[in-house]
Point group: C3
Amino acid sequence: MMADPRFFAVAGPLSVGALAERTGATVDGDASTVIRGAAPLDTAGPDDVSLFDNPKFREAFGQCQAGSVVVHPKDREFAPDGMALLISETPHKAYALAVQALYPEPEISPGVSEGAHVSAEAKLGDGCGVADGAVIGANAELGAGCTIGSNAVVGEGVILGEGCRVGAGATLSHCIVGARVNIYPGVCIGQDGFGFAPDAEGHVKVPQIGRVIIGDDCEIGANTAIDRGSNADTKIGPNCWIDNLVHIGHNVRLGKGVIVAGLCGIAGSTVIEDFVAMGGQVGISGHLRIGTGAQIAGGSGVIRDIPAGETWGGYPAVPIRQWHRQSAVLAREAKSSNQESGKS
Amino acid sequence: MMADPRFFAVAGPLSVGALAERTGATVDGDASTVIRGAAPLDTAGPDDVSLFDNPKFREAFGQCQAGSVVVHPKDREFAPDGMALLISETPHKAYALAVQALYPEPEISPGVSEGAHVSAEAKLGDGCGVADGAVIGANAELGAGCTIGSNAVVGEGVILGEGCRVGAGATLSHCIVGARVNIYPGVCIGQDGFGFAPDAEGHVKVPQIGRVIIGDDCEIGANTAIDRGSNADTKIGPNCWIDNLVHIGHNVRLGKGVIVAGLCGIAGSTVIEDFVAMGGQVGISGHLRIGTGAQIAGGSGVIRDIPAGETWGGYPAVPIRQWHRQSAVLAREAKSSNQESGKS
Amino acid sequence: MMADPRFFAVAGPLSVGALAERTGATVDGDASTVIRGAAPLDTAGPDDVSLFDNPKFREAFGQCQAGSVVVHPKDREFAPDGMALLISETPHKAYALAVQALYPEPEISPGVSEGAHVSAEAKLGDGCGVADGAVIGANAELGAGCTIGSNAVVGEGVILGEGCRVGAGATLSHCIVGARVNIYPGVCIGQDGFGFAPDAEGHVKVPQIGRVIIGDDCEIGANTAIDRGSNADTKIGPNCWIDNLVHIGHNVRLGKGVIVAGLCGIAGSTVIEDFVAMGGQVGISGHLRIGTGAQIAGGSGVIRDIPAGETWGGYPAVPIRQWHRQSAVLAREAKSSNQESGKS
C-alpha cells in the first residue's frame, strides 16, 4: 500500500538492498526489487514490504504477493518462491525500521502561527512550531524542535524536552516532560488527582501538590489522562508506550519501557516496574507493585502484587495458568450441569 | 416534558394525527390530542408523547398520564383507558420520528466566525458553519452544510462529506469521512495507532501510514478515539453508532450498522461485520472476526472469533447460555461450600 | 515534600499548633514544630506533615521521619518516639484540611483574555477569569468568580454557579451547573445521549431533548463524558466526586456524595442513590437502581439492582462475600483438577 499522498510524504522508492542496509537485515533474493509502500501479508502487492512474525498468518505468507517480506531465519521456509526476503533475528524491529525509511516523520514547520497564544514569559527553543489556537502559558519552557498542535494547551511552568510533539487539543499542566515525547491529541496531563477525605457533609479535597514527570521517548495515546501526584510526583519512565484512553492515577510510577494498552486504569500510588506489559482494559488497584517484566492479560483486574517476570490474568487476576485452569473447570462443570438437566 | 427553550427550539405543538402521518403509525383514540413534548412513561403529562416497548415498564404504562404513547399492536391492551395511542409495528422507530417532528435539528448558522482559523487552501462547501476557535488545515475539503464546533480541529487534507457535524474540541487528521456523520465533542480521529516493535533498548515505532475511512450517517460519541491504520486503513462502515469513550485500534474494520456502547475497546486489525451490537466495556482482542449480527454482552472480554448471529458473554467470552450456566454453577457451588463450612 | 514553586504558591510554613487549629486536631508533642510541605509516610522529612490511616503502612509509620503525622487516637501507639502528632477522630479529613492550609487554591486572575471569544450576549459575574482561546456562547451565564481555562468551550445558554472552574479544553453544552463545581480538562458535558431506534435500513436517531443538571461542589475528572438526557434530565447531585474517563449515559441520576472512580460506565436511566461508592472500571446496566450507601468493587459488572448499604462485586456482580466464595471455590477446584491431571 502506498500511503495516501494527501496525508503522507513518500521518501521511497527504496530497493530491498537499501532497506537491508537501513534495517540490519540480510537479503535472500533479488536485492534490486523496488519497494514503495508497506501492507499486511494478505493485501501486499509487488511494491510493498510486509512482515511475517505471527504463525497464525503462515498461510497468508505462503500466498503473499509482496515484493519483500521481513522474516526470521527460522521462518524463511514458509516464503513463496522467488520472493526477495529481508532476513532478521528481530523481524518486527527490522520491519519498523524499513517503514521508517520509506515514510520518515514529516518535517516540522517552524514558527509560531498568528493564531497561537504564546505568553511573553514562555521560552521556546530553536525551530519549534506552534499551530493556530495553541496556548503556551507563562514560564513554560520548550526544548528545540517541539511541535505544538492546533488548540493544544501547554500550561504555566510546564517544561518540554527537545523534539516533543503535543497533539491537537491536548492539555498539559504541572508537568516536566523529557525529550522526544509524543503526546497524542486529547491527552490530559497534570490535572488534580482523585484525592479527598470522604465525608457525609461533603467530601474534603486534599490539594494535589505533586507533578507529573515523564521520561524521554514516551508515547501517550489519544484522550489518555495522567493525574499529577498528591504529595509525591506521578512518574512515567523513559520509553513507555501508553495507548488511548488510559487512566493513570496520582503518585503512580511506571519504570522504563512499560507497555499499557487501551482503556487500562492504574489506581493511585501503584508502582509498575520496568518492561511490564499489559493488555487492554486492565485495572490495577492502588498501592500495589507489579514486578519487572510482568505481563497482564487484557481485561484483568489486579488486586495484589505481581512478582517479577510472571504472567497473570483474570478477575481477580491470578497466575495465567491458574486462570486458564479455572476457565476450563468452569466450562466443564457448566457442560456437565447442562447435561444433567437435560438441556441441549 | 417540554424541552428547555434555553437550549432547544420547539417546532410543535402537533396533533396525534399529525404525528401519525409523520411516523407511519395509526391512531387509536382522539387524533386531535395536542402534543408538545416527550417524556418517559412515569413522568409524562397530557402534552407529552411517550414510548412503551419494554415489558419491565408495563405497570408504568398502565398508569401513564401521557397524551399519547407509541405502542406495538400486541401491547395496546395494557394502555390506560381513553389514551390516544400511536400504534406501530416498530414503536421505537415511530417514537424516534415523532420526537424528530417535535424537535427538528437546529438550523446551522452558516459562515466562518472571525475567531476561526481556516487555511486559505481549505475548501468549504456551501452553507458551512465554522465556530470560534475552530481550525481547518490546508487542503481540507468540507462538503456543503457542515458544522464545525468551537475549538474543533480539522487537520490537513481531511475530507468531510455533506452535512457533517464536528463537535467542540474534536480533532481530526488523516481521515476521509462520509456524509451526515455526527462527530461528538472531544473525539480524536486519525492519530497514530499503537504500533511498535518491542525492544529493551527502546521500543521502535512503526510509522502508521494508513487512514481512517468513515461511511455515511455514523455517530461517534464523545471522547472516543479512532486510530488510523498502520499499513491498511481503519474503516467504519455506514450507519454505525459508536458511543462515548470507545477505543478503536489501527486497521480495525466495522461493517454497516454496527453498535458499540460506551468504553468498549477493539484491538488492532479485528473485523466487526455488519449489524454486530456490543454492550458497554466490551474488549475484543486483535486479529479477530466477529460475524454478522453477533451480539456481545456488556463487560465481555472476547479472545476468539464469534460466529455470525450468535450472542456471547463473559470473560473470557463464551456463548451466552454457556456463560449463564457457568454463573449459575458457580453460585450454587459457592453456596454449597459456604453451608459446609457452617458460615451464613 | 515542598511543592514545586514552578507550579504552586506556598502559604506556609505553619506550626503544628497552627495546623491543629485549622484542622480541629489536637497536638501530642511539640506544637512549635514547623511544617512546610506534605509527603507520604515513607518519604516525608522533618518539614512535612503526613497521614497514617491504613494499617498496611504501620511499619512505615513507625520509621517515619515526618515532622508531624495526622493519626487516629487508637493508632498513636504506633508512632515513632518524639514525633509531634496531630490527633483526630477523622484523620483523613484533618490531613486534607492541613494540606489546604499549607497550599490554598491559587487566586483567580480575573478578566477576559484578549484571545478569548466571549459572546456579547453572555453574562459574566464579577471576578470571572477567561483564558486565551476559551469560547463562551450566547446567553451563557457565569456566576461570580468562575475560571474558564484555555480553549474550554461554554456553549450557548449554559449556566454556571459561582466559583466554578472549567479546565482547559473542556466542552459544555445543554447544562446547568451549581456552585463551586470543578470540571477538569477534556471533560465533555451535555452532548447527545446514545439514543436511537435500531433499524437495518439505518438506525433512527431519537433527538435528545433533556439537559444535564449538576449540583454544587462536584468534581468531574479529566476526559469524563456526561450525556444530556433524552426525554428527562441527566442529574448529578451535590458533592459528587467523579474520576477520569467516566461515561455517564442519558437520564442517569446520581444522588449526593456519590463517588465514581476512573473508567466507570453508567448506562442510561440508571439511578445511583446518595453516597454510593464504586471502584474503577465498574459497569452498570441501564434502568437499574443502586441503593443508598452501596459499595461496588472495582471492575464489577452490575446487571441488577443493589439494595441500600450492601457491598457487591464480580462479573456479573453479586454480594461481595458470595463473590469471594466463588473465587475461592474456583481456585480450589482448579488446583484439584490440576493435581488430578498430574500437571505442576
